[in-house]
Amino acid sequence: MAEKTISEVPLGKWVPAVALAWIIPGAGHLLLKHPARGGLVAASVASMFLLGLMMRGALFSPQTGDLLTTVIYCGGFLCNGLSGILYFLTVWLGYSQPDMAGHVHDYGTKFLVGAGLLNVLGMVDVYEIATGQKD
């Protein structure tokens, strides 16, 4: 019997889990009954994001201009937003900080972007679990 292709997997089976994984890092795994993996993803993403904030890293806002500026600012904004609720709470509660010179602040900015990228890895994992490509 032929295996089910990914396109045959109904959207309702993976979209809620992936959306939840975006909004609350690690929650997609919890929904799919993988609490240990969800906990590790949540702890890693939250730790990286909070360390970024405590290092006074800056959150990006979209800005266009030359190619490099567009890639850095729009890409940075996208990656920040991929942290889900952590990003939204930071902006809503006014913890967003201006860009400052200094290596600690610079690391902080990279940590904030890195947290979003780690959450993407978690979302891809949730997608693979939900579509049956992985246990």
């Binding site: 702890a43 890693s44 993403v45 904030l53 405590m54 290092m55 006074r56 992985k134």
Partner: protein, 61 residues
């Protein structure tokens, strides 16, 4: 919000640790493989930190 001041080395080690954990969690299929892969990634991150640091030190003259 408390402020933390980390050195380059501390910041890169923390970044390596957290990234290695997630890479281990999402890429392998058994817990044993996940732990091994996370340790493997962390070791390579640390090796890259030392390698690139020496490269910059020697290249700087």
């Amino acid at each position: 919000m408390p402020k933390v001041n980390l050195s380059h080395f501390e910041a890169t080690l923390l970044f390596a640790l957290l990234t290695s954990v997630v890479l281990g969690v999402v890429t392998k299929r058994t817990d044993r493989e996940r732990i091994r892969y996370a340790v493997y990634c962390f070791a390579w991150f640390v090796a890259a930190v030392f390698g690139l640091s020496w490269l910059m030190y020697l290249g700087h003259g």
